[in-house]
Subunit: 496 residues, 4 copies
Amino acid sequence: MKNQKNYMVDTSQSVPFFNHADECIGTGRMGLALQKQYFEQLKLVQDEIGFRYIRGHGLFSDDMAIYQEYTNENGQQHAEYNFTYLDFVMDSYLELGLRPFLELGFMPKKMASGTQTIFYWEGNVTPPKTYQAWGALVQATLRHLMERYGADEVVCWPIEVWNEPNLAGFWQNADMAEYFRLFEESFYAVKAVDPRFRVGGPSICGVDDERWMRAFLDFCLEKELKIDFITRHHYVSEQPAVSGHYSYVKLQSLDTCLDSVKSTRAIVDSYDAFCDMQIHITEFNTSYVANAVVHDTNYNAAYVAYLLSNMGDINQSYSYWTFGDVFEEIGVPYTPFHGGFGLVANGCIPKPTFWSFQFFKQLEGTCVHRSDDSVIVKGEGDVYRGVCWNLSGGDLSLSFALNLKQGEYCLLAKTVDEACCNPLKLWHDMGEPSHLSKQERTLLRQAAQPMITSDSAMNGDIHIDLSPNALVYFELKKVMRQSDRGYDYRRATAQR
Amino acid sequence: MKNQKNYMVDTSQSVPFFNHADECIGTGRMGLALQKQYFEQLKLVQDEIGFRYIRGHGLFSDDMAIYQEYTNENGQQHAEYNFTYLDFVMDSYLELGLRPFLELGFMPKKMASGTQTIFYWEGNVTPPKTYQAWGALVQATLRHLMERYGADEVVCWPIEVWNEPNLAGFWQNADMAEYFRLFEESFYAVKAVDPRFRVGGPSICGVDDERWMRAFLDFCLEKELKIDFITRHHYVSEQPAVSGHYSYVKLQSLDTCLDSVKSTRAIVDSYDAFCDMQIHITEFNTSYVANAVVHDTNYNAAYVAYLLSNMGDINQSYSYWTFGDVFEEIGVPYTPFHGGFGLVANGCIPKPTFWSFQFFKQLEGTCVHRSDDSVIVKGEGDVYRGVCWNLSGGDLSLSFALNLKQGEYCLLAKTVDEACCNPLKLWHDMGEPSHLSKQERTLLRQAAQPMITSDSAMNGDIHIDLSPNALVYFELKKVMRQSDRGYDYRRATAQR
Amino acid sequence: MKNQKNYMVDTSQSVPFFNHADECIGTGRMGLALQKQYFEQLKLVQDEIGFRYIRGHGLFSDDMAIYQEYTNENGQQHAEYNFTYLDFVMDSYLELGLRPFLELGFMPKKMASGTQTIFYWEGNVTPPKTYQAWGALVQATLRHLMERYGADEVVCWPIEVWNEPNLAGFWQNADMAEYFRLFEESFYAVKAVDPRFRVGGPSICGVDDERWMRAFLDFCLEKELKIDFITRHHYVSEQPAVSGHYSYVKLQSLDTCLDSVKSTRAIVDSYDAFCDMQIHITEFNTSYVANAVVHDTNYNAAYVAYLLSNMGDINQSYSYWTFGDVFEEIGVPYTPFHGGFGLVANGCIPKPTFWSFQFFKQLEGTCVHRSDDSVIVKGEGDVYRGVCWNLSGGDLSLSFALNLKQGEYCLLAKTVDEACCNPLKLWHDMGEPSHLSKQERTLLRQAAQPMITSDSAMNGDIHIDLSPNALVYFELKKVMRQSDRGYDYRRATAQR
Amino acid sequence: MKNQKNYMVDTSQSVPFFNHADECIGTGRMGLALQKQYFEQLKLVQDEIGFRYIRGHGLFSDDMAIYQEYTNENGQQHAEYNFTYLDFVMDSYLELGLRPFLELGFMPKKMASGTQTIFYWEGNVTPPKTYQAWGALVQATLRHLMERYGADEVVCWPIEVWNEPNLAGFWQNADMAEYFRLFEESFYAVKAVDPRFRVGGPSICGVDDERWMRAFLDFCLEKELKIDFITRHHYVSEQPAVSGHYSYVKLQSLDTCLDSVKSTRAIVDSYDAFCDMQIHITEFNTSYVANAVVHDTNYNAAYVAYLLSNMGDINQSYSYWTFGDVFEEIGVPYTPFHGGFGLVANGCIPKPTFWSFQFFKQLEGTCVHRSDDSVIVKGEGDVYRGVCWNLSGGDLSLSFALNLKQGEYCLLAKTVDEACCNPLKLWHDMGEPSHLSKQERTLLRQAAQPMITSDSAMNGDIHIDLSPNALVYFELKKVMRQSDRGYDYRRATAQR
């Protein structure tokens, strides 16, 4: 099966396209940011892609060691705060050009009203014993950050209250009223520190989400909470089938995969008070399980490209869950390709989806073409940059007629497909080793780079062939040829 | 045109193959070793390939500043030696894992009997005013090196006397008798410092070479000079055609391109006293001009692979002229792809021929197959590593039946061809820019990497397709598959 | 108070001195080795000092995630092992030139018979549910390591069974019989993997230690366990006084501070079967608490120098507890100078005691002088290297008459004292900031370097002045002066 | 001899002080900027000090290879320009945060009207054969730079015409009329490219300088050349005495050492047209010879500190000649401490004078004290930073009463003196080795760091003791002490 599509592109017309691919990225719990491998993976991501914000769980969890108590000489109990690890984490984020998108949670064990935890790493998901203590913790933390990094800087860090309270696993009993209380208390605690802080919620995922969203907005209205933005999550997979350490999932059809974010947009816009308010997708990915093998495939890369071309229409940001595979929610992975959420596999190996973001990051300027399989943007100096992907199931040929001025153009292409940028396959062919040697790691990294090709395009038309699940970045530039005295490429390469 | 060749490989039999690809590498004049770009290019070469020795001109040329004179208070003139730059150069060679293959030359201006120079950088090519001064210079230099680096180390550095004295450009009048005197004086000066030093010559190239070689051997016999090795150079191109800054050359046919080294071997072996003596090719390349555009092509890489598969039969080493393009013999290049000798283009961009060496470097073990288009070696742990190349003019398919035990094998391939690892073409398509921006440099480096692919080969047979001028490295390994509990690659990649 | 001591040193006589300062170093629990700061501190230690082995707790604790269980489709429970983190840790140790001195412990929660834990990080200290499971864990771990790093390498890693079982905090009820069982089971499990492994114990500290040591040796005799070495710990402080987050301790007098190691030596030697057996002090420091402010002082450095000059007489190694301050036994520290055990404070700031080890590391060769305040060694090329320290309470002047041949000598000195290499004081003067800015960190690192001075010593005699708690390294070398033509230092520096 | 000075400092009053210490730095000829050691030394200087501009000779000299000629097929000769090396040099300057202060010179051999050269490296100092060719070269160079780095950037690079034309060594016959012609031609050539370029001269040194300066200004007036700034050089030594490779010089007294720059200021200001015009000292140092051993001493550092405290009064910049010792005007140095001009000795060893600049670089803010031995500046956050130096010949004690608010202050001091930061002495004591081993280099670098000490200053008064030729940086900051719960420094350090 081979599909051919021919697009006429009118480069004088702009087409809607909102590219927030680099706005925010997800991370495993904050305590993992102390790790060397975490830093190395995040550095690779920032060097090659460069996100602006980072968001994850566990700011107040016990491994961050912030909340402490002691008994003074009179036997009275006091709170004290330890910011040693917090500083280390924030220092490295800022060093890497990232700002935190703060998530308030989970509950320090000593402040928790209950013992319920979530994950291998046991995040406590119960309400605080007292909201007074919780508010004091939030405020002490923000004040410390402002003292260290400057108030003007820190008020640019958005604040989200808790994570997925609509799931009983993440918030005891999925108790809606209790969450609203937490939200309100947190909201006022933050604004009392500095009213410039932006605060949002309800950080729900796709379970009973419409009811939750409406209730949350009603609550804010009723309480006159002037929230600054709305948040939710977005995953596009069916129920996973589990086998041993792994999950196998089917993704939703492209037709329906954006329904829930559209529905949220509609709900929010149906309120006068919230119409057009920013909606941040503070987590998204194809599958929502941390061992879904699909995450490591070229198919995932192409699917995510499709999402990246569309999600900006209705969301201010959409934070891929997650940048890397230093992640412990369901335990420590047994192999480098274990279906983790990350753009980067352990061993610092970029997965195909890494390139979806790296490619979209280049798409700055005026969009001149957008379709289900491609997007093209005209940038500074009349350079055309595009990304295309192939979810058709068969081979796909794309042609774009740009009707540019006659002349010499250079068409550069970077291809990520199952043949030329597929570390998963190489690892499989190697025998699926659990523990990579240094040589194997180096080889896998080399095999995880896009193939770069170029062509001379005399009239500026673009032709791209995509094998199944391929993802291609291309760039079309007018060439100012100034061959050096006596240089003749044709003659140089004719000598065989 | 498509050629198919099927080879039956008997893996229990060994086939002659002498791989000295990594023994020695050439360099621009020693004074250039002070430069930052020189070091960066050499570091890349050593990190990725790793040669053992390095040889080039200009040890005693004025920019190394070794030989100095002063007049003392009594009006008498004295020699003094300045080893500041020499130390710097040797320090960096050793830091990069290289030992020098010392070439004694050219003549310091103050010691020279004449004014004739060669090259843009003006190396003086006349005999010394006095051989006493020359011998003192040679000895002071060796003694200084021994003091700094240890005698046991420095006596491992081979010593060659002068460069291409059979050309009047390199040695005034191509005066044979004078060269023999220089050789004899140098020989005794060196051996007086430490008889363990190995000394050789006559470092001739292919002009009137048979006569020179016989005369040199006769001279040594007559004078009872117990030389330690023989040296000559080897280039395989016809006369170049010049246009502006560039030269266009045709290479010799494969049939005849090794004739001159074979003839030298025969001459040497015809003397009882020198039979089987080591012959070092202290320079080789396709073309002998520094602006031959062929050097930058994939064709050159394939041709050099052919040479590397054969030259070890008769030579102890063959030093590719040169590792990089920091080189000033005909002036400073105007563009990164100017046909320089280097394995690496300016901007630290590996040329296709870089990979010929990188691939041959892997060929350690017992050779089980060698033909005009391929060589295969069986290494430790029964891993088969091979290199193949396509000089057939058309497409070429190679099959190797190894008759291994039934089982699962992984066939890894690294391909360098005109489509996937051809920085020259990309640079041409970009418009042949003289001055690369940082982004362009990075892109060219990325485009200069082999494409890595893999396959599962159930019975150990190998199939490789090569486009014209392609060069492919491959590796066949038995796979010990230990899939983790629940992992099923087929299922993982079936989810589309 | 000023003391003057004059030593006559006979450089032709050798004096007993056994320098194992670089043999082994302690570390916080193994799981912390995943952290970036841990690696940076350890890298500094290895770059500047270079230990050979590293020992710490927590190999089998839950954050290393090695021991796992699962239920198969038939409902049966199985063990499985996850070596992902173990590999990461061992890779970094080996990368830094370190081998692990393995300590078997603590108990994985799922394998534990009880719930008692120790430390902030909750190491389980109860016996295994079954010794069969424990043995299987030990063996699987060793076999995995041998597969990854090679059997010949891994059998060089000594193995110690558990930690301080004579304390009820570290081993439930300090149950001696149960420990002996653990020891025996572990011993046989290890030896069954490879009899070349060296296994030792009982890893006790100074509480009821004589009884434990004798009982352990009796047990080994009775059971005919051919142990390979003996281990114990050694701390020299009195009971600490606690205030807030900190402990204040008095150290033992120099007269008595080695009594307990001597007593252990005597006990061991009193057994025919164990006489002269190697005794490894697998932990030592001044104070045994992780918040003893003395650890950060110059006094500690001088005291440790005294210990390093003596402990080699009776112990094969003595492992300073610990290399750095990434350490969580009593929680996360609030400030960089919190009295942690480390040679390096958080922020990668070397403490004075860092230099005690760095200085002793240089003492290779034949000892020619050893006293209570100094040690001098004659090394290759007749270079004399020494360390001296001042625990006298007042100023101290040391003179060493070496009676060398008349001539010019260079005396180099590196001084660490309260005036010139005292980051604690600078930090105090800065106001004791909890959270260092980058600038403050850099300044503290610069202030933590020894002062380097030199002198011309015409007859080879050595004079060193030490302020209280000073530590000085010195080096005396014969000078081969070869002033360059026209250079006159005296004249050069007379021009004012 | 011991001097004591007590200064009352009124911190509410500002005192004139113009600190341009970091404005510009000198360099050896531009071709040396290709060298690895050059880059490393310059990187050290930029990392630690951070200058804004860099100026040196040789832009158009032959080793930069810019000016080339060729004969076309019709036998006509043409100019062509090679910017390969120029780009490399400019790329590295910009990478290090530096902009060039361009000096137009010297003459390409092929364009020169004569053969006179200067220096070991043979810079041609004769006028061009035709001024048309010279103008074309200047314009092609500027246009190339603008294309590569952007016009807005490049017009910020000041342009000076030639170097020291008042010396017959630097400009054939010191021919004033010919220089004025060169200036005028260059001026118009530059302004024709972009009138925003700033052009100045006459770049004279202190020989017959008053006559030259007046004549130059008269010429500009007469020709109505609207020059943008004035340049001259400034050295403060008497005639050197030479011995072998070295020169010994006496420096001028402090009273007179600024006379010539004052006189230039007066001359310039005496013209209405030039009154208050910027004067740039495009070279300054103590001695003007490249082998003056004084350059390596602590005395030089103190003397330069005095100059830095004064020269800003009348000059917009003063460019220390030079940043490092990769420099070949009188040949290649024989030893690391050979009296070179550099702030950094070969081997990347900072000399004492390095710290004069590093210390003055910190002096940002409002000056509150300036005298012959010290300067103090009040910076952001009411931090007081000062530098003091001791040229008194004996010991010197300085006290500054600042009358600050009572409270706790931290006084930080960095001391560079003959005892604690004097690599020259250590090198001398080591025997003055010509060729440093890696260990010796490391040791010398360590010994070349200031000693850092601190004190608690309860009332903000400052006391500094300076040994002869000492240079001290100090910083006084209010301390916000927040001792952690239970921490008591006094108790911590009392435990001996």
